[in-house]
Symmetry: C2
Subunit: 109 residues, 2 copies
DNA sequence: CATTGAACTATGCAATGCAAAGTACTGGAA
DNA sequence: TTCCAGTACTTTGCATTGCATAGTTCAATG
């Protein structure tokens, strides 16, 4: 029982919401997404992000297109689909409900 | 990929925080805890709560004592330990950081 | 003694974050 | 050309946790 594990557990399910939120602004490739998450103080590693994007794509919430890069191999640019936008809005409700519940449970100390 | 699963995932790790928060107010037995969580709009079932309490107890974050009940079998009254209080405060930091990160990632739509 | 309800326990599954190792492509240095 | 570094993407396997489900124990009541 350490705090690092607790952090990992709290992230579960939240990353999807964050990533869909980021892609709502416009398409991006994985390194872009990681940089944006890092700005928000959310460190994510490759082994987490890539499988997650693949999962979201397979569920029809994202699409991608290949684009040549100036340097290095081509990149997968991801964009959000209509289903993705709708799912994102449901996730927002879920997150808001959870935030409220946590807040309530911590009240009245 | 359905919203129910997403809810379950988002709860992971958060329940511990909520329960420690509730027990900081004073000792309680499982049905008390479930009722309090329900008030906060957080539905938890036995199969989730009991193993979780056992885990927290084994990690030294909680204690319990048996108490006879007026009706029905005796109850396990749980209370938080000093380690539990400290861990709760670390979880609070973790939760606050995560909330901030989620908020940031959803900005600038 | 049987039944009912409350309280607690145990088992097994599915989902996800993550570490770790691996593959593939490009460009520059030796 | 051959080797190496850097970037981008992929794959495998593990640990943890919420939850469904079923089972056990105990006290009170008829």
């Amino acid at each position: 029982m350490d705090i690092e594990n607790a952090k990992a557990q709290m992230r579960k399910g939240v990353l999807e919401f964050c990533i869909l939120g980021i892609l709502k602004r416009g398409e991006a490739y994985p390194s872009d997404i990681m940089a944006t998450l890092k700005e928000a103080k959310l460190i994510v590693v490759e082994g987490t992000l890539y499988p997650l994007l693949t999962r979201l794509k397979n569920d029809g919430l994202l699409n991608y297109r290949w684009e040549e890069s100036q340097q290095g191999p081509p990149r997968k640019y991801y964009s959000i689909t209509d289903s993705g936008i709708q799912f994102h809005s449901e996730l927002k409700n879920t997150w808001d409900e959870l935030s409220y519940a946590v807040k309530q449970s911590q009240k009245l100390q």
